[in-house]
């Protein structure tokens, strides 16, 4: 206790650098799982949750202010509806071409094992993934924002 050092500035950059490094990788992993939903395990919901977890990563690294500036909450809420409309559209394509609702058509394209080989299942997976991505991102963003606003108003 000889001399109190006043000019020490704590920098918590480890979690921030980790968030920097793992946000692109997590996004790529989530999109891979969405797009390969018919070849490997996974699909819309799982990949959507993975993509939405990048919201948590950015929140952990940078705090609430950057989070609000990065993600537009109105944009996410509107695009969830876009995902739902796209899903029902790709399901209705089956009716138009004379089959059941949600029936897979155009399945003759491509070889077995290729990426674009499963007709409308690919696009339906993609739209479900889009909807879950925006929906779960909206949910997490809402809960974190709720937490922050209330804790600031309590003070």
């Amino acid at each position: 206790m000889i001399s109190m050092k006043k000019n020490i500035e704590v920098k918590n950059i480890i979690v921030k650098c980790a968030a920097d490094k793992f946000t692109p990788v997590g996004l790529v992993l989530g999109l891979y799982i969405i797009l390969h939903g018919h070849l490997s395990p996974g699909g819309g919901f799982q990949g959507g949750v993975l993509v939405a977890s990048s919201v948590i990563l950015i929140y952990l690294g940078y705090g609430n202010d950057t989070l609000k500036k990065t993600f537009n909450i109105e944009f996410l809420r509107k695009n969830e509806a876009v995902g739902a409309i796209a899903y029902s559209f790709f399901a209705l394509v089956g009716i138009i071409f004379g089959a059941n609702f949600c029936r897979n058509i155009f399945y003759k394209t491509g070889n077995i094992g290729d990426l674009y080989s499963s007709g409308t299942i690919f696009w339906m997976n993609f739209s479900v993934g889009y909807k879950v991505l925006t929906g779960v991102g909206f949910l997490i963003l809402l809960m974190v924002g709720l937490l922050h606003s209330d804790s600031s108003s309590n003070h």
């Binding site: 997590g26 992993l29 490997s40 395990p41």
Partner: protein, 84 residues
């Protein structure tokens, strides 16, 4: 390759031993550390089972657990620090 599954049994046995630390640990930090280790060992056992069973597609689950298992721990630490 029967050794792969033996090693998997060994890892799961070790993680069950670690549950003792989760049960007894004097405070929350010990439980969080043990939980992190259990996540890692579960992921390793999953890799070994996937290689034994010969399906490469099971590896995606291990990828997810390995990549995102640390979010929970960092979140718990933020909660303990009090600035969540």
């Amino acid at each position: 390759m029967i050794e792969l599954i033996y090693a998997g049994v060994f890892y799961i046995l070790l993680s069950i031993v670690l549950i003792y630390r989760v049960a007894k640990g004097p405070n929350v930090v010990d439980r969080a550390v043990a939980s992190d280790s259990i996540d890692i060992m579960t992921s390793v056992a999953l890799i070994l089972f996937s290689l034994y069973s010969g399906r490469g597609i099971y590896l995606d689950i291990a990828l997810i657990i390995a990549l995102l298992g640390f979010i929970g721990t960092v979140l718990i630490s933020r909660y303990l620090e009090g600035r969540l």
